[in-house]
């Protein structure tokens, strides 16, 4: 198998998700109640949902939101984690102590309860996607500690390399050393973290939907599509409810394969 295939698949997924709303054959919000819960057909490839909305259209439009939300939350986490870990590892001393204890505190938070409590105080009239964006940002805010630890460890080791010592000897400023000689050494770890975190954040939206905290109706999202599986007793008669899940699984598989390849090659 081509070594770059997983990355290519992921890139294709991001592209499809960006173009999702344009590719959707129907308006994903439009209800056709006379064909509610319809089986897959030539007109509706993945069938229709409880309200007669085209599931394929909702899957494609939902990809746009779910993937972009996942990418954004991943980026936010890595920026925060990378900065915190880098600063802690490079500076050491009390800065390191403070940042790492803060990380310990964040790691010990029962984030699910924090989220539920936080959702309860959000304004009722908040738009569904805005509410979930806030929630995902909150998840990202409490997820920086793990990548920060990894980056800190790496930065500690990089800081003692000969070329860093040499740069110090030549009187190069600490900030410049960090930016030019230490930070680039963390890209690999951050890339692997991105591949680990991205599907997790997409899954977080699915989890939030299961808890009733996800993207509210009528906006499509992958979490909303998976929600149909709560009525598992309908599956023997309405097997097509599984189809959106079958399409989401490759995302996780691809990320997992990419992470393994990346680790093997580095």
């Amino acid at each position: 198998m081509n070594r770059n295939l997983p990355i290519a698949v992921l890139a294709a997924l991001v592209v499809v998700s960006l173009a999702g709303p344009l590719l959707a054959p129907y308006n994903p919000l439009e209800q056709h109640r006379e064909i509610a819960d319809a089986a897959p057909s030539a007109l509706h490839w993945l069938g229709t949902d409880d309200y007669g909305r085209d599931v394929l259209s909702r899957f494609l439009a939902g990809a746009n939101w779910s993937v972009l939300a996942g990418v954004s939350a991943t980026a936010l986490t890595l920026v925060l984690g990378g900065l915190a870990g880098g600063i802690a590892g490079f500076n050491g001393g009390w800065v390191d102590q403070v940042l790492m204890r803060l990380g310990d505190l964040v790691l010990s938070l029962p984030w699910l309860y924090v989220l539920i409590g936080f959702r309860a105080v959000l304004p009722l009239s908040m738009k569904p996607r805005a509410a979930v964006a806030v929630m995902l940002a909150l998840i990202a805010l409490v997820s920086w500690a793990r990548p920060a630890r990894l980056v800190r460890g790496l930065v500690l080791s990089l800081s003692e390399r000969g070329y860093v010592e040499a740069a110090r000897g030549f009187g190069v400023s600490g900030f410049r050393i960090f930016l030019r000689h230490v930070l680039p050494g963390t890209w690999g770890v951050l890339a692997v973290q991105a591949l680990v975190l991205f599907p997790r954040f997409v899954l977080a939206e699915v989890t939030l939907s299961f808890l009733g905290l996800g993207v509210g109706e009528p906006e499509p999202s992958w979490g909303g599509l998976v929600l149909g599986l709560k009525q598992a007793y309908l599956l023997p008669e309405q097997w097509w409810r599984l189809l959106p899940v079958c399409l989401i699984i490759p995302l996780y598989l691809t990320c997992a394969i990419a992470v393994r390849r990346f680790r093997a090659s580095s």
Binding site: D50, A120, L124, E217
Partner: protein
């Protein structure tokens, strides 16, 4: 052939004969689901269904409504008589009755209970039911076991008002009442040993987030009852989880079913009973209180009528309840045969009519098709809905689409049931709320606190000092008049007029009334589900677990 037929007829007569009864078995814990945490264990202030589901098994009333016949039956009052002018009821209490803590029950407890329910400072939701024309029904102690109720005026269906008015232990609650702290008594944090009642069960344990456990009341006044050792209410907010737990044998009874699950449950061998149209009505309630931030829109009758016209009730019944529901245009359901007003108009859905109503009220549409009010502000509001009710969430999604056709942006706000109730009843912090009422009793007097403008459950604008609108004033007059009218036909006429006003003014948009469908695993004896709430546990004292079922767990 003749002999076989005779044998068959004998066997059949054994099955259908009223004299035939399965011999009850004592023991076992009945497992049922509770869809939300109870808010309180205080029967005086409980308004949420989960609290009441539990409390009805712990407490007893003087006269009960038999849920299967819908007729009154003696409870703590063994007999009663009525004066000729209909203003005095004399109730003879059962002797030897004891509370679940062993203390005797006497007329003093009745007088105390009555005083508590009528105390304005306590704000009991039952208070409105015990007032006639603004005057309280007086309770007078005649002797240790006789009480007299003096009515300001003759009261229609007076016996029914005693149903669900739990008798309280004076020895336990009087100090708190005198200190003005009765609302703080018997909270969910109270030790079970401090709570005493006269029902078939008593509180054994409350595990927040997990279960409410009741045990047999050893002092229960009905001989040999209850048969069960106890009832465990498992807190299962999600209907799908309830279903899974039922199928796996963790629950014995399901009081409400998702209609989509019926064929699945039947396939699993569950005994599913469809009792037909019930008394529960689902509705979208507007916040018409002064605290409403959208009052300018909601106060417009045309605005409310526009939303009603755009509501696809038929689709709600077909899709959400799989056809096992009846579309509604008024507050009384077709299941309530005595009080349903079939003459109320049933206009077909019309978005065009909705738009016309909005135009009349000065609303306009911008070029993108979004509705704007006469001042040009975009029209948008939220629908508050219980996150634990899949059906109501589904209804809200459909209403969102219906009102979207009018150019209105609707946000759905799912909220935990207790938080939702707090916003609607206590703080009025909501725009609209999707709720359900009904099921307690078929008689309109049971809903006095909903329809009287002074009522705590007058959901669109509760606890008004004076009726805020003329039509609410007229409803007040009609409700009070029907309360004291003894002629059944005249009462019906008065209540029909209430239904007409409510249907015309639309403080609530009535949606659908679901059929009552319940299930049990086949291991529960004396199971006699009824149309009145609680559908399955109303006769909890008489229920028993068959040996096979109890052992199967």
């Amino acid at each position: 052939m003749f002999v076989s037929l005779g044998y068959l007829l004998t066997a059949l007569s054994l099955v259908v004969s009223p004299g035939y009864a399965e011999r009850p078995v004592r023991g076992g814990i009945l497992h049922v689901a509770l869809r939300a945490e109870p808010k309180t264990f205080n029967p005086v202030i409980a308004i949420d269904a989960p609290s009441r589901d539990v409390l009805r098994r712990i407490h007893a009333d003087l006269i009960s409504i038999d849920r299967s016949t819908q007729k009154t039956v003696p409870a703590l009052a063994e007999t009663w008589s009525q004066s000729q002018d209909g203003t005095r009821y004399t109730l003879k209490l059962r002797r030897g009755v004891r509370f679940s803590d062993g203390t005797g029950f006497t007329a003093d407890d009745v007088v105390f209970s009555w005083a508590v329910y009528l105390d304005e400072k306590v704000h009991s939701p039952q208070r409105d039911l015990l007032m006639i024309d603004g005057q309280p029904i007086q309770c007078v102690r005649k002797d240790d076991f006789t009480v007299e109720f003096v009515l300001p005026k003759p009261y229609a269906a007076a016996e029914r008002l005693f149903d669900s008015v739990a008798m309280l232990p004076r020895h336990r609650l009087e100090p708190q009442w005198k200190a003005g702290k009765l609302r703080d008594a018997w909270t969910v944090g109270t030790s079970p040993a401090e709570i005493a009642g006269l029902g078939p069960f008593r509180l054994k344990e409350y595990r927040p987030g997990a279960a409410v456990v009741l045990e047999r009341n050893p002092y229960y006044w009905r001989p040999d009852l209850p048969y069960l050792d106890g009832i465990e209410f498992s807190l299962l907010t999600d209907e799908e989880v309830q279903l899974a737990r039922f199928v796996s044998g963790d629950l014995d009874v399901l009081n409400r079913l998702n209609m989509k699950s019926i064929s699945y449950l039947q396939g699993k061998g569950a005994a599913v009973t469809d009792l037909g149209p019930g008394l529960e009505y689902n509705f979208l309630c507007f916040n018409l209180s002064p605290r409403s931030s959208k009052l300018a829109w909601f106060n417009s009758r045309e605005f409310r009528a526009a939303l009603s016209a755009a509501t696809d009730r038929e689709a709600l019944a077909r899709i959400v309840y799989q056809g096992r529901a009846t579309p509604l245009w008024g507050n009384v359901t077709p299941g309530n045969l005595l009080w349903y007003d079939g003459r109320l108009p049933h206009p077909a859905r019309s978005v065009a009519e909705g738009r016309e109503q909005l135009r009349k009220a000065g609303f306009r549409w911008n070029p993108e098709g979004h509705l704007a009010d006469p001042k040009g502000a975009p029209v948008e509001f939220s629908i508050l809905v219980s996150s634990s009710s899949a059906e109501r969430l589904q209804m809200a999604t459909m209403l969102q689409a219906d009102y979207g056709e009018l150019g209105i942006a609707v946000t759905i706000a799912p909220l935990e049931f207790r938080a939702l109730l707090g916003r609607v009843v206590d703080t009025q912090q909501f725009d609209t709320a999707l709720l359900a009422l009904g099921g307690g009793d078929a008689d309109p007097n049971a809903e006095q606190n909903v329809w009287l403008s002074s009522g705590g459950m007058h959901l669109w604008n509760p606890n008004q000092k004076q009726p805020a609108t003329d039509w609410e004033g007229e409803i007040d007059r009609l409700m009070k008049a029907q309360m004291v009218t003894l002629d059944a036909g005249e009462r019906k006429m008065l209540y029909d007029r209430v239904q007409e006003i409510v249907a015309a003014q639309l403080p609530m948009i009535f949606l659908v009334s679901p059929s009552v469908v319940v299930a049990q695993r086949g291991n529960v004896g004396n199971f006699r589900p009824a149309l009145l709430d609680h559908f399955t546990l109303w006769n909890a004292g008489e229920l028993f677990l068959r040996r096979g079922g109890a052992e199967a767990r």
